[in-house]
């Protein structure tokens, strides 16, 4: 937090403001907010298909967001125009294949394209910038060589030099070390770090290698179709969080003062240990729209493992659940509960002892969840209905209990939700009036269950 406070003094270079994007109909990125200040060096982490590359393409203006806007240096991206963007942003791809035998110097001078007239050639000034870019990337001795005949590591340096010839304020790198061996990976990241420090080039890089990312990037963004975590490496590289996002067991150790990660494959001794400590989840939390936030935090604080879901991508509860829950049942943004997801909920419920319903508005899209809850109540699973602001008064009649759940105000199904809630209460579901009470009941149930078995 201190870090962020000291950086608010610096100007915001890039403001990604609530962008949504998807290929075809399926949203890939949903309501993404990111702010990057001048001179920052940001690493973008996330599994394959998490939308890292798509985010970079949106920022470089190759793709346009379907919703939201991207503000670059105080002006909306699309107002800059293609050429204007190219004068501010340079992109280093994973790998560049050039079909023709360009020399290194010719290729680096292509970086001046956004600045020279399309029909003319570069001036003396441009030549100096090209020389300087080659010098900065340490490739001056390669100037006359054919690009295609260089090694992978040398080629990446040439591409960085070409990007530098654009004299960008923002440098985007898409997994720049993906095809390099360890020596060139380090070389490459050292070079980028030097440029960031000496030339104050703001850097955003998608990274595969968590260790290198931790080593070189002071700020990491963990990405899973949205920003799941945005903080320093020590905070982002947390085993539970990484396990949920990447789906593998990892252990974080400290090595020679720098944050160091070692990724262990599932099934290894350490992975089993962790699972035992954590225990099998026996609680399912149905939440959404922030209604489950306090409960999920309370359960995590009490070290009670739980499953959360189904939650829509982009829902604040979804982001939180990725951090806190043992397992998250995920649904597409804005989408109603699909049959497949419902089946997943039913299967999960077979393993559960307890189901907690948070006060979520009930509409046609999620009415099926109440039905699933009713089935669960009938099959001897304890169902808790969370109604935090209902007070702790003892009530007698069924109608009063029903009123306590607050279902009437959040039922948008013409009474169908109300009817299911009434049946649920008749089937033995109980109403809990506070988070503390819910946590306590949960703890009792879970410990009871584990001592029984």
């Amino acid at each position: 937090m201190v870090v962020i406070a000291s950086k608010t003094l610096l100007e915001v270079l890039l403001d990604v403001d609530g962008i949504t994007f998807g290929y075809e109909q399926q949203p890939l990125l949903y309501d993404v907010h990111i702010q990057v200040r001048k001179g920052e060096m940001v690493g973008l982490l996330g599994p394959n298909g998490s939308g890292k590359t798509t985010l970079l393409r949106l920022v470089s203006g190759v793709l346009r967001p379907q919703q939201g806007k991207i503000i670059l240096d105080g002006r909306e991206l699309r107002d800059w125009g293609r050429r204007g963007i190219a004068q501010l942003i340079a992109v280093v791809p994973q790998e560049l294949h050039v079909p023709f035998a360009f020399t290194v110097e010719q290729l680096v001078s292509l970086g001046r394209t956004p600045f020279v007239s399309l029909f003319g050639s570069g001036s003396r000034h441009d030549t100096l910038i090209v020389q300087d870019a080659m010098h900065a990337a340490d490739i001056t001795p390669l100037a006359g060589r054919i690009f295609n005949e260089l090694s992978g590591g040398e080629r990446q340096r040439v591409i960085v030099a070409m990007a530098l010839a654009q004299q960008p304020k923002l440098l985007l790198l898409d997994e720049p070390t993906a095809h390099l061996d360890i020596k060139y990976q380090i070389d490459m990241l050292e070079l980028v770090q030097r440029l960031n420090r000496e030339r104050v080039v703001t850097v955003i890089a998608a990274m595969h290698d968590l260790n290198l990312a931790a080593r070189y990037f002071p700020r990491l963004l963990l990405f899973q179709r949205g920003v799941v975590a945005d903080a320093s490496p020590a905070e982002v590289l947390e085993p539970r969080l990484l396990k949920r996002v990447y789906g593998v067991n990892v252990q974080v150790g400290i090595l020679r003062g720098a944050q160091h990660l070692s990724v262990l494959p599932p099934g290894s001794a350490v992975g089993d240990d962790e699972r035992q400590w954590e225990g099998e989840p026996q609680v399912l939390v149905m939440a959404g729209g922030g209604s489950g936030e306090l409960l999920m935090r309370a359960l995590a604080d009490a070290s009670i493992p739980f499953i959360a879901g189904p939650l829509n991508i982009g829902d604040s509860d979804h982001t939180l659940a990725l951090r806190l829950a043992s397992e998250v049942i995920t649904e597409q943004p804005y989408a109603p509960i699909s049959p497949a997801t419902l089946e997943q909920v039913r299967t999960s419920l077979l393993r559960m002892k307890l189901l907690v319903l948070c006060p979520v508005p009930i509409g046609p899209g999620n009415l099926s969840l109440l039905q699933a809850a009713l089935e669960a109540a009938h099959s001897k699973i304890t169902v808790l209905i969370l109604a935090p602001d209902s007070g702790g008064a003892q009530v007698a009649t069924a109608d009063e209990v029903l009123q306590r759940t607050g279902i009437a105000e959040r039922d948008y199904t013409n009474g169908e939700g109300l009817r299911l809630m009434r049946e649920l209460l008749q089937a033995g579901a109980s109403v809990v009036g506070s988070i503390a009470e819910a946590t306590e009941v949960t703890r009792r149930h879970v410990s009871l269950a584990s001592s029984n078995s």
């Binding site: 393409r57 791809p93 560049l96 050039v98 079909p99 035998a101 292509l110």
Partner: protein, 364 residues
């Protein structure tokens, strides 16, 4: 061993040529072209000394007044019989070579040629229609109709390919090539259908065969002037796209990152390339390999920068086709063989040689 020395020689040659300043190189190519043109005019049923040709041509400019020490018919042969054909060949050669550079640069594929996206079959269909239409039997001449329909056919087929390939505001290269294949197939089918069904086909079929095999059989100046104007304008416009084509070498996304409106330039390049190809095809028929081999050879010798590659290819293509046309005329006199035969006979082995000697450079 021998291969290695050959390679070294090529490398030295390449290094030497690349070290030369560009204007000097282009000037040298101009000189070669001029020389080749003079030779091409001098050969024929009645050989004419090069000196005489030079004097006749210089007199033609109106600036020089050499004394006439030659037969007046020689002057007619030079100006009316041989020059139109030779200049036509040079124009067609340079048009095809420049179109080849444009398409290879845009598609990032050194194996692309000007006929790749529908020009050839469109032109062939146009020409076929001209051959089977009854006008030629009424007026006894189809010299106007044939180039016109070939030109229109080529342009229309490229527009069709482009329209088919366009998906959601973009024209991916793969779709473009596939659409080219499909349109080619359909147009060839139509051509076959017309030839089979038309009652006039038997008159035209030999002439059509000759046209398809390629040849610059022109003995009047006005088509040269019209086609030449289109080709020269196209080549000059192409030169203005040098930087764009260089940037396309990085791929479409790479070019976009350098600030180019990729789709707009792609359309512009397609239009330019097709326009000059169609203009060339309208007077020459289908001549293969010039557009494929010339840019290739020039790139190998002078490097891939389009600022130099485009003008060099224009001159190189002109030289190549003028020579091929000369061979076609003198190989079996008095018959004129189709030029396409010679460009293929010279071009194909040369192309194979290039392919086998530089495997690395030809990945997609």
């Amino acid at each position: 061993m021998r291969l290695a020395t050959q390679k070294n020689q090529l490398k030295q040659l390449r290094g030497g040529l690349r070290a030369l300043p560009a204007p000097l190189l282009l000037l040298a190519l101009c000189a070669v072209l001029l020389f080749v043109i003079l030779i091409a005019v001098s050969f024929g049923s009645t050989p004419i000394p090069i000196g005489t040709i030079a004097q006749i041509l210089l007199n033609g400019t109106g600036l020089f007044h050499f004394a006439r020490r030659w037969d007046p018919t020689t002057e007619v042969i030079v100006w009316q019989l041989r020059m139109p054909g030779v200049i036509g060949a040079a124009l067609v050669g340079s048009a095809l070579a420049v179109a080849g550079v444009l398409f290879q640069g845009m598609l990032r594929n050194p194996l692309a040629d000007p006929f790749l996206i529908g020009t050839s079959s469109g032109a062939a269909l146009g020409a076929t229609i001209a051959f089977v239409l009854p006008f030629d039997t009424i007026y006894g001449s189809f010299s106007l109709l044939r180039p016109l329909l070939a030109f229109v056919g080529a342009i229309l087929s490229v527009l069709l390919v482009y329209a088919i390939a366009r998906v959601g505001g973009e024209t991916p290269v793969v779709t473009l090539l596939l659409a080219g294949v499909v349109v080619n197939a359909v147009l060839v089918a139509f051509q076959t259908l017309i030839l089979t069904l038309s009652p006039h086909a038997q008159f035209g079929i030999v002439a059509l065969f000759n046209w398809l095999a390629g040849g610059v059989a022109i003995t009047t100046w006005w088509p040269i002037v019209v086609v030449g104007a289109i080709i020269l304008a196209g080549v000059v416009c192409s030169l203005l796209l040098s930087n764009v084509l260089d940037a396309f070498g990085l791929g479409e996304e790479g070019a976009a990152h350098l600030g180019l409106h990729v789709e707009r330039y792609k359309l512009l390049i397609i239009i330019l390339g097709s326009l000059i190809t169609a203009a060339a095809v309208s007077i020459s028929g289908l001549i293969g390999f010039v557009g494929l081999v010339t840019p290739h050879a020039m790139r190998l010798l002078l490097g891939p920068r389009h600022r130099l590659l485009l003008p060099a290819s224009a001159l190189g293509g002109a030289i190549f086709l003028t020579l091929a046309d000369l061979l076609a005329r003198v190989a079996n006199p008095p018959d004129v063989l189709p030029v396409g035969v010679f460009t293929a006979l010279v071009g194909a082995p040369f192309f194979l040689y290039l392919l086998r000697n530089s495997k690395r450079a030809y990945r997609w």
